[in-house]
Each structure stands twice: as C-alpha cells, then as structure tokens.
C-alpha cells in the first residue's frame, strides 16, 4: 500500500523487537469472536489514475458547465486562483488545531486576521474562529442568548433560511427552548405586528436573517431597538457574506451568526463551509468555539495563542458553552484570503456588481411576471411569482444549460408558484435574457 512507509523487513524487525510472532498477536485484546475473518466489502485497491477516473465520471454525471440562478444560502461567486494555490500548502491543510502555539503561528495569525476582518465587516467587536456553518451558528447563537438573558424563548423570522430553522429546532428540542416563528409582510421583511404578538417577557432573542431568505434587507436598527426594549437580544444571521460589501453592517445587533461560504469557498454540494459567531466584547465569555488572542513571548515579541478556553468542552465538559471542538480553520483561511484579495475597495465593487446584475434581472423579470417584495431594498436575490409551476420553466432552461431559480413551494406554499432567483457577478446578461425569454 503506497501510503505506508514500511518494508516487510521493517515490520518483521519491529515485531521481533516487540517479542511477538505475528501482527495479529497485537490484536489479542479484541475477543476472538469479534475479530473480522474476511476482507471488508469495499472496492478493491485502485491506482491513482483509476481513482481520478471514478471521480471524473461522477463529475460528468453532475451538472458541470451549467450557468445557475441558484442561491438560497449557497452562492456562486468567483474564486480567485490564489486561494487554492495558497491553501494547498501542507503547512495549512495538514496541521491541526493550534494547541502548540510556537509551531502554529501561521494558523493562529491567519485566524486572528479572520476574526479581525469579520469584526470590521459586521460591526461586531469580537468574532470566533468559526463554527461548522451558517445553519449551526443559528442554534449556537440562540443558546448563547439564553445563557446571557436567563430567558428561554426564541423568536425567529420565517424569512430565515428554512434549513437553518430546521437545525435550530433540532438543537432546541430537548433544552426546553420554545420557538415561535414570525411571518413576513408585504415588503418581505419580518411582520412587525406579528413579531409584537410573539415576543413575551421570556423571549431571549429575536432572530432574523439579513439579507433574508428572499434577498430582502431587514431594518436591523429598528429591530434591535424593539428587541432591547423587550429585554431580548437581536441575533442577525447572514447567509450571503458578499452583501457586507454594500449593505450597512448590523452594528446594533447583539450577535451575528454568519455563513462565510460566499468568501471564496466552493459550493461543494453544500459543504464544508464556515460559520461564524460575532458579538459584543461584553458577551465574549458566553461565546461558543475557539478564539485566538494576541499576546507576547518571553522576549516581548508579538504572538498569538488560543485563549479564553475555559468556555470550551475540553475544560468545562458538560458545563461548556457548546460541544463544538472544530474550528473551520482551513475554510476560514480561504475566506481570509478572499477578503484580502478584494479588500476595502474590491468588496464594495464586487457587491455593487451583484446589485447591478440583480437590479437588471429583477426589472427584466418584472416585465413578464410578478416580482415580489420590491418595496424594501434587496441584495442579490429576488422572488418571482409565475402563473405556471416554476419547474416547467426550469426544465426549458435546462435544455440551454441554465439552472433556473429555486422553487419555493416546498418551504413557502403560501407564495404559490414562486421561485427564488439569485444573480452574482458571474451571472451574464445573456443568461438573464435567456431566462426571461423562457418565462
């Protein structure tokens, strides 16, 4: 086996030194009746060329080479080649959690830069070194709110990603955290009257997504004001990170639960992505996940270490702020490189390209169908209501190698024949025109 660096002679010699006859003697602690006496039923050992053939065939059986209007929490943005070139270095991807700071300064500094950039972009004061993804960041933010307020009720907008809400329900079900969902108004934003009915003196947090699942930007300042009057926290989920280049950051929020996939992370059929929890300094001790802090070595030189670890499972065990052990360091590093490449000017320009494509597309779609929620600002997604089932239109588009918008009936039956369309900087005008023609 080509990954194993021992010759048969090495093995013989090592066994001899151990004073055992065969390798199976080392497996004696496993009771004989449970030892596997056959080969595993997995494919036979393959050459590298065969392995790549297998995956290339898998790729061909997928939708390679299609233009897409799919967004809905996973966004197709251009990934500069610099990202993969850099993270393919073994020092990045074959290292582990930086427990030994003296030989992990690369990972630690990159994470510190990630935390700093996320703070800069979200208007928060502290960001962790990542959660699994945007969906799991939502329940983590809810549990954090419960700890901070001593209350247990969670109010979440129905315009938060449906799968994020499902994940929240899974986490909350056995922790005694009742969840209320609040619908959306005519403009696509959270329904304020319904919100006021849902919030009680036991509400720990109000959770919204902005831009929300329909692409609509919520009025975060007003919502924060309302939440704080009720003694609750405001949690803002961000699924489309590129929006931060143009959209006012949710500075009034107490916690931001974010998905960083848009920042240079491949779509990858849904993962791996990187979630983030960002918050105010005063809440840092209730944050989940790893944190990197700046310090000095014995000679006073700047360096970085994992810090405030007493929040975490390996020390506090069942009293920890979360059971998470992972940080998505490699994905966070991709995001850090992406944020660095675009930087102060580029992130804005990039976001404005998304706005331009979306404004054009929404206007064109509006000529032939009903575009919903146009009374509030939107980022790069919009909802189109048609007379026919959107699947029919999407089938016509597939013939042109275009994947149409995401049909919403499964999650929002009340919207009828509606679908969610996303345009990014990669969406070409001719593709938009072709889609409108297929309406």
């Amino acid at each position: 086996m080509r990954y194993l660096p021992k010759s048969p002679a090495d093995r013989e010699q090592m066994l001899a030194e151990l004073g055992v006859r065969t390798i199976d003697d080392l497996f004696a602690p496993i009771p004989a009746e449970y030892r596997l006496k056959r080969d595993l039923n997995v494919p036979r050992q393959m050459a590298e060329s065969e392995i790549l053939d297998f995956f290339q065939q898998s790729s061909r059986d997928n939708a390679a080479g299609y233009a897409t209007f799919l967004g809905a929490g996973a966004y197709s943005h251009y990934r500069p080649v610099v990202i993969d070139s850099l993270i393919s270095r073994g020092e990045w991807f074959t290292a582990y959690t930086p427990y030994q700071a003296e030989i992990a300064q690369g990972t630690l500094q990159a994470i510190f830069e990630f935390q700093s950039m996320i703070c800069e972009l979200t208007g928060m004061e502290v960001a962790n070194a990542s959660m699994y993804d945007g969906s799991t960041a939502v329940p983590e933010a809810a549990m954090m709110s419960v700890r901070l307020t001593g209350r247990s009720h969670v109010v979440i907008a129905r315009s938060v990603h449906p799968e994020y809400r499902e994940v929240l329900r899974t986490y909350a079900q056995h922790q005694g955290l009742p969840i209320s969902e609040v619908g959306f108004g005519e403009n696509g934003r959270i329904d304020i009257a319904a919100l006021d009915k849902a919030v009680t003196g036991q509400t720990a947090c109000i959770m919204v997504q902005s831009p929300n699942f329909f692409g609509t930007i919520e009025d975060v300042a007003a919502l924060a004001d309302y939440a704080h009057k009720k003694g609750a926290l405001l949690v803002v989920s961000i699924a489309e990170a590129v929006s931060l280049g143009a959209v006012r950051p949710p500075v009034e929020a107490d916690i931001v639960a974010m998905e960083a996939q848009s920042f240079g992370v491949p779509l990858g059929f849904g993962g791996p992505y990187a979630g983030v929890i960002a918050t105010k300094d005063k809440f840092v001790r209730q944050m989940p996940g790893r944190l990197v802090g700046q310090t000095v070595d014995r000679h006073g030189r700047r360096g970085f270490v994992l810090t405030l670890s007493t929040r975490e499972q390996h020390i506090r065990r069942e009293k920890a702020t979360s059971n998470i052990c992972t940080n998505q360091a490699l994905v966070a590093t991709m995001a850090t490189i992406f944020m660095t490449i675009y930087g102060r000017e580029g992130l804005k320009e990039l976001a404005e390209h998304n706005l331009a494509k979306t404004a054009y597309a929404a206007a064109e779609f509006g000529k032939k169908a009903k575009v919903l929620f146009s009374d509030a600002p939107r980022f790069n997604e919009f909802v189109v209501q048609t007379t026919a089932d959107p699947h029919q239109m999407n089938d016509r588009l597939l013939a042109q190698k275009i994947i149409g918008g995401f049909p919403l009936k499964k999650f929002y039956p009340e919207l009828g024949n509606a679908s969610l369309w996303c345009c990014t900087e990669l969406t070409k005008k001719e593709t938009i025109d072709a889609a409108v023609k297929a309406l």
Binding site: R285, S309, T310, I315, R316, K319
Partner: protein, 131 residues
C-alpha cells in the same frame, strides 16, 4: 504566607472575615493555598449584589488559563458588595489572597461561623491534604 488569625477558613479553601462591630457582614475570599494550586488567575465570576449564597454551595467560579474551579460559600447570606476590581485585575488574588476579597455578605446565621476552621486548624488541614 501565614494564614491571618482573624479569618475563618473552609476545607474548600475559602476564608471569611467578620469585621464590623455588629458581626453582621462577612467578607469572603480564597486562601493563599488555593491561589497557589490554581496558578495564575485570569477570571473570576461572582454573583451580583442582592443574590443569596448558601454555606457549602457554589457561589461562583475562578479560572486559570486551563481550569475552572467552583467557589464555595463559607456562610449563608445575601451579597451586599462585589469586588469589581477583580474584573480587570484578577491577579490581585494571586498577589494578596487574604486581602483581595470577592464578596461581602450579610450573614444569615452567625452560628455557621462556629463550624469553620481557625487559621491554625486550616494550616494543619492543608498540610495533611498535601501528604
């Protein structure tokens, strides 16, 4: 470091000082032995004024870089003051354990003081524990 005679001690390594004339108010901290065992203290989590604490029960935690330890109340009572200084300078506990107080409480039952250790007994207890 000597254990001051005017303090009363617990086997969980907290001390209480009853200083005012009425004997109503107890001041609570942790011992030199405790701070040595914990190492560099980086954070203390304490109840808010007005909270009730119960003798023998946890009233907060003290943290070093890689450990969290519970703090146990030497006496029952309600918290009248919290040493806010420790929020920014928890290292005071390492430097002056027997003066860097954590809480002042209005003692509920002065009888509880009788069951606490004297400085001499505590010193013996620590020596025994170390064996």
């Amino acid at each position: 470091m000597a254990y001051p005679k005017e303090l009363k001690y617990t086997k969980e390594h907290e001390w209480v000082r009853v200083e005012d004339a009425t004997g109503d108010i107890g001041t609570i901290g942790i011992t030199d032995h405790a701070q040595q065992a914990l190492g560099d203290i980086v954070f203390v989590e304490l109840p808010k004024p007005g909270a009730d604490i119960t003798a023998g029960k946890s009233f907060g935690t003290v943290e070093s870089v890689k450990a969290v330890s519970e703090l146990y109340a030497p006496v029952s009572g309600s918290v009248t003051a919290v040493n806010e200084e420790l929020n920014t300078t928890p290292e005071k506990i390492n430097r002056e354990p027997h003066t860097a107080w954590m809480l002042k409480v209005k003692i509920k039952d002065k009888g509880e003081l009788a069951s606490l250790l004297s400085a001499g007994d505590y010193e013996k207890f620590v020596a025994e524990e170390g064996k």
